[in-house]
Symmetry: C2
Subunit: 290 residues, 2 copies
Amino acid sequence: MRNCVRRKILCCINGSFGERFAEVAEANGVAVVKLAPPLGEPISPENLHDMLSKNPDVEAVALTHNETSVGLINPLKELVATIKRHDKLVFVDAVSSMGGTEIKVDELGIDVCFSSSQKCFGVPPGLGIGSVSEQAMNLSATASNKGWYFDFKVWEEDQKKGRGTPVTPAIPQIAGLNTALKMIQRNGGRKWYFDLYKERNQRIRIGIEHNGLSTFPRKGSESPTVNCINAPEGVEGGVIYEKMREKGFELAEGYGPLKKRTFRIGNMGYIEMRNIDLMLRTLGDVLTSL
Amino acid sequence: MRNCVRRKILCCINGSFGERFAEVAEANGVAVVKLAPPLGEPISPENLHDMLSKNPDVEAVALTHNETSVGLINPLKELVATIKRHDKLVFVDAVSSMGGTEIKVDELGIDVCFSSSQKCFGVPPGLGIGSVSEQAMNLSATASNKGWYFDFKVWEEDQKKGRGTPVTPAIPQIAGLNTALKMIQRNGGRKWYFDLYKERNQRIRIGIEHNGLSTFPRKGSESPTVNCINAPEGVEGGVIYEKMREKGFELAEGYGPLKKRTFRIGNMGYIEMRNIDLMLRTLGDVLTSL
């Protein structure tokens, strides 16, 4: 925020992590305009275009690529193209999508794209991963009152001088990420990894439907990395979460306003197909026992 | 800075990490007054008192407890008492002292005291450790434009609600710190650990003197966790660092303006006495071979 935005940002909000993005902007003294479709609906390029036409003074647009809290993925390519037609900066929260699905950062023209070690890369948490465009870097160069820790130019300087990072980083996680990336390379590269996510996710989705359940977001916008599942009529999502936990499966509870109505099944990191099958069979047992 | 300081801070500077503190303040739009004795000299309570008398408008004082770059420890108790007589906030960078020597945070009245996992606790890097006084917390409550990530109130809220941390933390390092603290407890508690640092450091200091070398900082202000050693006449510190490295000992080069004139021997984390003895014998060989 402090590197690139002086006054105003448009935040696209699909759930809790989009709300968080807006909170961060406001906490940094930036005015926020919000585009927030009903929960479960993706951001539509048309609505985004309208918002940008009505608010020509926004300097940047914040997108949550994959909104974990509702299990939804946004049409990134179309949204970034729309934003670029209005000549605005694009910030993408790719926390739960980077590594799980293709993001052509430079080709699309994403200015700041960030993620973390513990989601699709399957490495323990503690590491932020990000890229910054030249335009964003130039804006940072002339920004004032940026603070120190998140100042792009501070990080760039140390990197250029071959000193690594300006503060001692989470070294074990860097080694872990290196290992994870080498493993992906060895197994066939990015396409292999993205396909693996797709395959695992489809398997989970089919299993859910077999068990008579449905996913929360609009059809076609389901996240490839986490499924947000409607709890059966009259049952709280937390009950299913707890019962699965007792049987040794750590799923996730619903998040924020969907806490009671849903539960979630993540598909990130190292998971074998046979574990997915076992989890689905166990879920069937739990549902039958309700 | 943004939680507690509105306009002006006094930064006590003994070396590179004190300079860093001032940089961080300036990057956050805070005016900085500096108290910077010659390299190797500790901050004197008298000079600090004079500076505070001449600058009654400073709101806080920043101290580096143990300045790693010059191997110096400041007289924390006396300095904090001086600051409290002037009724200012005290921020203490205890990165390379917390765990290695006693810091009575509440008794002294330190408002913000922070450290990290990878120094005296001997855990891999990735974790910040800190405490915040009630007064600092109250100032944060009324501060604006604080940003989000370092907002004390954000962290307090999640802690109070039993949700842990507002962002996913470096979990392996938390487990590591827990293990390190239990190990300290099992071996006799804090006093045992502080004494161990003292003993190891003395052993290193005696060994250095045996080898005809001297430490850089003023006598009596030598750090208990890192020794900054004057390189012998006509030899660059980096040469000794490299030769020791070839023999399997990872010491540290001099830092900042002392890069050429000194080298450093740290004493943090898990180190056995016999390794110290072996290192000292090897250092003797290296010095003889020059």
